[in-house]
Amino acid sequence: MRLRVEPRLVPSRLVRFGAPVTGLLAGLLLSAGMLELFGISSPRALAAIVQSGFAGGLYAISDTLTVATPLILCGLACALAFKARLWNVGAEGQLFLGAWAATGVAIALLPEGTPGWLAIPAMAAAGFAAGAAWGAVPGALKARFGTSEILTSLMLVYVAAHWNNYFIYSAWSDRGFQMTRLFPRAFWLPRVADLASIWPGAAGLTLHVGFFLALLLAAAFWFVMFRTRFGFELKVSGISEKTAHYAGMPVKRNIVLVLVLSGGLAGLAGACEVAGVVHRLQENFLPGYGFTAILVAWLARLNPAAIVLVSFLLSGLLVGAREVQPSGIAMMLQGIVLTCVVAADFFSSNRIRRVP
């Protein structure tokens, strides 16, 4: 008797949703085993993760959604590109550039007294535009010369990081410190905590309106994908570029357009982080959301609603895992859980059969 892996032609609904859940459970079980191995009480550790990632009241949810915001935006950015089978793995760089441009608008372009209703949209637009420009580079290279967008978008991450460092340490440095000056208060994205004067319970809830924007864009993503001509073209291109070309679709224009929009979404995430969380540009304020988002987009099967859900769950895991120290163990737990979920994903599109 041998075992053979074969693809499922039409994965059933049960399998599609059951597989990741099973993977999650298996991952948690394995993690528990590892924790015990390290002499940590696994029920307590896991409870602590759930407690502070999801179930610990308003604070926990607020923290988790704050982290989820850039993940959703970058997840959408990746999903948009992946839909068209363009492997934009440089969301991180587009995120940096978006943060940079929003900062530039806030501290170098707009006068201090600009009202928030003008400044915030301007910062968001600048973030989007800068991310889009950063995405346009691999797009144009791909469309014109057939250069692999995987390499170019990834390499541009490092360019973006150094670009930002130049401004953080030199051009926009605040009194020589490794950060720019703080944005004027009016330029900060409104936070739930701003309601503290009316509702004291809101104090310390850092969730900002960027989260709303992310939800809105997830809905827009769905609409564009499933209800517009552009979405239809992307769907066909993603399935077979040859078919799209045959059907007279502007394949090359779409390559550029997709990467521009994808970069723009990631850039917007960067703008939200500086305007909503840090309120200035400084070094290493981003723990790799742009890379994590690749995983988010995959796990969500490029579906916008699932991206929101996966981002939430993953952020909860990230936030909750801080409760387990040293951080190496927390990172290991995240690794185990994610590996199990990704592995389980394999079984939703394949099955194992016994062959005599």
Binding site: R229, G231, Y246
Partner: protein
């Protein structure tokens, strides 16, 4: 039979091989004998069963019945490895090399008995003498991806020889080679044969067959219509006639004529075709004076330094069906792609309804009224993960506007799809079902229906009935004919000669990217078409009278012009 007695026993013999695939009898009691030092050509149209037969010999396919003998002993190959162990090596059309590895690594890859530590220099020097003898020069360290097709072919050959193959099977070895490279390959084949290797090779090119083959087996629709016939006993024209399904007039001379299958018994054979031809109304001539709807002027298409199309011109009149006959791989794909704007010609012009669209996009061609049914049903004309509605609206989605700018009206989309599905009798389970749920015939109906729904002025169809059952084939042909009757100009490209003959008002034969002959309907001569398809063409540029002479002496067929690409050198000629 007394002739055979004097000949040494066959190194490889295939006796009464039958291979049955679901619904198809790919090989029907085929016999083939291959002797040491012999070059044996296996000839036939696309789908005649040549590949299946070869795969049997190479252990890739297991015959349903029949016996394979190697050196007189019956063998059963469970896998290609078994065949390899018996000394049989096959070189596939795409060579099956690992692009990233070096030449040497590719040669030794998969060989048994390699030492755990590879002394590559020593291994290379062990192979070197063989190569020198064959006149093959290889740079062992180069990665295979940097090699030309001809060099890859050599690597594949050397790999086969390194495994000590006594029997070499080559699947269309010259298909991807330039004419220079082909010449060199044929030379190598001669040297190998002189070394005692038995070679079985598949080819559509009669000139090269004439130049190297000792014996010939011709297949047609799963049967061997000429079995292991000595090359000198059969003329190239006869081979061409047999290939396209005509009775060999001169075959009577051959003693084995009795073993030829009875032709007339083939249901969908030429007889049935003839009947159809009769029912086709002659070109109405309704657009005789009108400007051509599709026009190609001296179109040349160069890909990777090779001319896939050279100086091709055609013009298509309203209401006419122009058939392009040819063995597949002679530039048909490129021709239709250029006609539909999917590929841009290197030089020359393409115009649709008198509008020059040479460097325009497929969308411009579509908007000018040209619809194109690609041969590639699953990779181009449709795609596996699309649903039926997507597939139906692939070209018309722009007109199905929703209420907001840029949107698609999904209801209109499914309505549009339903209409096509109904009109063209596509058996389906809803407009949102995946295209993979359709059979090949139904998918083709959907694709054709989609193109026809746009009321084309020009319809380009490539291999429209490939892989379809009889009923679907009928349906598709009828639709094409009906469309032409409404005044649409149709370009029909197919390697199925029967189909082309049945439908066309006019016919062009394509060979190596050129039109080598043209016929009005009343002039069509099946044998002549067959000969042209196989490259037997008079007046091919570059043919010198002296080459002709050399060719004749070898081929023994005084009435055939040579193929320019074939080396005029005599067989087993001295090493250079």
């Amino acid at each position: 039979m007394d002739v055979l007695v004097n000949i040494p026993p066959a190194l490889l013999s295939l006796d009464a091989i039958c291979v049955e695939f679901p619904g198809v009898l790919a090989c029907d009691r085929v016999n083939l004998a291959l002797r040491a030092g012999e070059i044996h050509a296996l000839v036939g149209e696309n789908g005649a069963g040549k590949s299946t037969l070869m795969h049997c010999a190479a252990g890739v396919v297991r015959p349903t019945s029949g016996t394979i003998r190697v050196g007189g002993a019956a063998v059963r190959f469970a896998s290609p490895q078994d065949a390899q162990a018996a000394g049989i090596a096959m070189v596939f059309q795409n060579f099956l090399l690992v692009e990233r590895l070096s030449v040497l690594d590719n040669v030794i890859l998969g060989s048994r008995g390699l030492p755990p530590v590879l002394a590559r220099k020593r291994l290379a020097s062990a192979i070197e003498p063989v190569c020198t003898r064959l006149g093959i020069e290889l740079d062992w360290t180069r990665p295979v991806e940097s090699l030309s097709a001809g060099e890859k072919q050599k690597v594949a050959l050397v790999r086969a020889l390194y495994r000590e193959a006594k029997i070499l099977i080559l699947d269309e070895p010259t298909a991807v080679l330039t004419s220079d490279e082909s010449d060199k390959l044929l030379e190598t084949m001669r040297r190998l044969a002189a070394d005692g290797v038995a070679i079985l090779f598949v080819s559509h090119k009669l000139p090269e067959i004439r130049s190297v083959a000792d014996s010939i087996t011709v297949m047609h629709r799963g049967r061997a219509v000429a079995e292991s016939m000595p090359a000198r006993d059969i003329s190239a024209e006869e081979v061409a006639r047999l290939m396209v399904g005509l009775r060999a007039e001169t075959a009577a001379r051959d003693k084995r004529e009795a073993s030829l299958p009875a032709w007339s018994g083939l249901g969908a054979g030429p007889a049935a075709g003839d009947k159809r031809e009769a029912s086709l109304p002659a070109w109405s001539g309704l657009g005789a004076g009108a400007a051509p709807l599709l026009r190609l002027d001296s179109v040349t298409l160069r890909v990777d330094g090779h001319d896939r199309l050279s100086q091709v011109s055609l013009s298509l009149r309203p209401g006419e069906i122009l058939g392009i006959a040819g063995v597949s791989g002679n530039g048909q794909k490129e021709l239709v792609s250029v006609c539909a704007g999917v590929m841009r010609p290197t030089s020359g012009t393409v115009s649709v309804r008198s509008r020059d669209l040479t460097r325009r996009s497929p969308r411009d061609f579509f908007e000018a009224g040209l619809c194109y049914v690609s041969e590639d049903r699953y990779g181009e004309a449709s795609a596996p993960q699309l649903n039926l509605a997507d597939c139906a609206c692939l070209k018309g989605y722009r007109t199905l506007r929703g209420p907001l700018p840029g949107t698609i009206d999904l209801a209109a989309m499914s309505g549009f799809a339903e209409r096509i599905l109904d009109t063209f009798h596509v058996r389906h389970s809803g407009a949102w079902a995946p295209t993979t749920s359709l059979s090949g015939g139904n998918l083709q109906k959907l694709i054709l229906g989609r193109e026809l729904s746009h009321d084309p002025a020009v319809l380009v169809v490539h291999q429209p009935t490939q892989g379809l059952d009889l009923a679907s084939t009928e349906f598709v042909c009828e639709e094409i004919r009906r469309q032409a009757a409404t005044g649409t100009a149709v370009l029909l490209v197919s390697s199925d000669l029967d189909e082309v003959l049945r439908l066309s008002h006019r016919l062009l034969v394509i060979y190596r990217g050129r039109f080598v002959g043209g016929f009005e309907r009343e002039q069509i001569d099946r044998a002549r078409v067959g000969a042209l398809m196989a490259g037997l063409t008079a007046g091919t540029p570059g043919t010198g009278p002296d080459e002709k002479g050399a060719q004749r002496s070898r081929a023994g067929a005084s009435d055939l012009p040579p193929e320019p690409s074939v080396s005029p050198r005599p067989r087993n000629g001295g090493a250079s």
